[in-house]
């Protein structure tokens, strides 16, 4: 069964009848031009925005987690299963790294040290546990925000542009961690602008254009020169046979 599914997901002026499924063990990239609705889609999946169901199927539309409507979940139950990594993260207070990661345990009402340690180990920030967040570089901070999500042990991780503004080293580190999460029962849905990076790591792709699904499926069907050029409005060169894949404006 699909881990998460959207049926005719509609959000006024932002999303229009978006339907797709994501399975356990899958890494799904949501791609598309700026303003295509990537962030809105992830926020709907996280339960942060309440979408209207499609006009034609009022009883069936919306977001479903393991077959149950997302709105039927208690917020804590939803938070235990879905971890959300927003596009822009910051901490209002100069907290220690460990304290920030521990916030990921809030849905569980505990402070599971083992889960916190493991999340820091997976993201390689164990050595900075006692450091204050404002002493870290942008790349180190990005790993802290991700560790916070991992500490909650969600089966589904929603990440909104997790590698934007990171250097190549940290891009690879973050994508490796996400890929690792999506290797077993877990699932990752991420919005991403770097299409070549997406092609290198992700299993399936959801190409959005003006709030609609323009193309959906594996790289061969979505990452085509025709589909991408149409969606982005510029000619795009694609070479998926190259290792790593190449996707650039032509």
């Amino acid at each position: 069964m699909a881990l998460i599914e959207t049926r005719n997901l509609t959000l006024k002026n932002r999303l229009d009848s978006v339907s797709f499924t994501a399975e356990p063990g899958e890494m799904l990239a949501v791609i598309g031009p700026n303003g295509a609705g990537k962030s809105s889609l992830l926020q709907c999946l996280a339960g942060l925005l309440h979408a209207e169901s499609g006009r034609h199927l009022p009883q069936e539309g919306g977001v479903f987690l393991n077959g149950t409507p997302l709105r039927a979940f208690k917020p804590t139950d939803r938070a235990r299963q879905i971890g959300f990594l927003p596009q822009f993260c910051d901490s209002a207070w100069t907290l220690a790294v460990e304290e920030i990661v521990a916030l990921g345990r809030l849905p569980w009402h505990d402070r599971d040290e083992a889960a916190i340690r493991q999340a820091m180990r997976e993201t390689g920030i164990e050595g900075m546990a006692q450091k204050n967040i404002n002493q870290l570089s942008g790349g180190e901070q990005a790993r802290v925000w991700l560790a916070r999500v991992l500490a909650g042990a969600p089966c589904l991780i929603l990440a909104d542009e997790p590698v934007a503004s990171l250097d190549l080293y940290y891009q690879a580190r973050i994508m490796d961690v996400l890929r690792q999460h999506a290797s077993g029962e877990g699932c990752v849905i991420l919005a991403i602008h770097d299409l070549a990076l997406a092609a290198r790591y992700c299993d399936r792709f959801c190409l959005l254009k003006q709030g609609r699904v323009h193309a959906f499926g594996p790289s061969e069907t979505v990452l085509t020169e025709a589909a991408l050029s149409d969606a982005f409005g510029v000619p795009i060169h694609v070479d998926l046979n190259h290792s790593p894949p190449i996707i650039l404006p032509a």
Partner: protein, 335 residues
């Protein structure tokens, strides 16, 4: 800041509460006449007549407990609001509650409202005033982001400030006006156990409301979106926090007048002791708030006799420079 560096090395909470206890007993010993503290307390508790029992039971103990409760209420509400608004410069008066309480209490003095309630009339009117301004603030801010509360609170606070100015402007006679102004300047003297009986329930209810929302305060460190994604109801929880803070501030202002800057400075001093965590800040901020107001009130009593310096004036005189220093420090951090 040397003080903070030293403070970091001391196990924070026990030291904080021991300090509070010491200041508490110091407050019981300070007064115009020397009175044996323990004998007085014992006599008062066992119902034996005598000057020491009278001074302790009727004057010093209520005054001390009142200063402590007012300080704790202001410190706690400041910590909660700073956490909610994610802003270290947020002050309890920003909900409009303290101006509303002042307006309510001042209206009682001026119009002689609720005559049947006696000493409780300004207290009740203060709490009602705080409640009304708070409702107005919440209504104006709408269901949106807590950050908008800051502006809405400021606007409503200005409105109640204007109404208060009008009340002062049309005071029936200079004496009524003087009484009003002095009351507004803030003091914990000349109040009895009745005031305490009013303030304590408010302190308990307000604190419990805020205490209940600690997970939200912790999660809000990372923003409203993350807090929501962690399964917390930011909108409802935010209202509970504002409501709790308004009860605390409203009751504190209604009993003791305006005691400025304690709600702003106490959380700031407490923050290093709580590793900057907004949810762990609540108790230390309350303890420091109580200590500050007790110390300020002791200072008031130690001043040479004559025209008394009002407690609110003293806290503002000390607090405002600290506030300026805080902004100066933040500016340096950003440059």
């Amino acid at each position: 800041m040397k003080f903070l560096k030293i403070a970091k090395k001391i196990p924070s909470s026990p030291a904080l509460f021991l300090g509070l206890l010491a200041v508490f007993f110091l407050s019981l010993t300070v007064g115009s006449a020397p009175v044996p503290v323990l004998t007085g307390l014992f006599d008062w508790l066992t119902g034996q007549p005598g000057i020491p029992a009278l001074v302790m039971g009727e004057i010093r103990l209520p005054r001390t407990l009142l200063a402590l409760s007012v300080g704790a209420a202001l410190g706690l509400s400041g910590a909660a609001l700073q956490g909610l608004l994610r802003n270290p410069l947020a002050d309890p008066s920003l909900t409009g509650a303290s101006q509303g309480a002042a307006l309510g209490a001042a209206s009682v003095f001026y119009f002689a409202l609720l005559p049947g309630l006696g000493v409780f009339a300004p207290l009740l009117a203060g709490l009602i005033g705080a409640g009304l301004t708070l409702l107005l603030t919440l209504w104006l801010a709408g269901p949106g982001r807590p950050a908008l509360l800051l502006l809405a609170g400021l606007a409503i606070a200005s409105l109640s400030g204007a109404a208060l100015a009008a009340v002062l402007n049309f005071a029936p006679n200079p004496f009524a006006m003087q009484e009003l102004v002095f009351w507004l300047l803030g003091s914990v003297s000349e109040r009895g156990m009745a005031h305490l009986a009013f303030l304590l329930p408010a302190l308990v209810i307000g604190s419990l409301l805020i205490w209940w929302q600690r997970p939200l305060l912790a999660a809000l460190s990372l923003g409203e979106q993350v807090a929501t994604s962690l399964g917390l109801n930011v909108q409802r929880g935010g209202r509970v926090i504002v409501f709790g803070a308004a009860i605390l501030v409203g009751a504190a202002v209604a009993t003791a007048g305006n005691i400025g800057f304690v709600g702003l400075i106490a959380p700031h001093l407490a923050r290093p002791l709580a590793q900057n965590r907004p949810d762990r800040l609540l108790l230390p901020a309350a303890a420091i708030g109580a200590t500050l107001v007790l110390l300020a009130d002791i200072t008031v009593r130690l001043m040479p006799p004559g025209r008394e310096v009002r407690l609110g004036v003293l806290t503002a005189l000390i607090g405002a420079p600290l506030f300026i220093r805080l902004i100066w420090k933040m500016r340096r951090e950003w440059l």
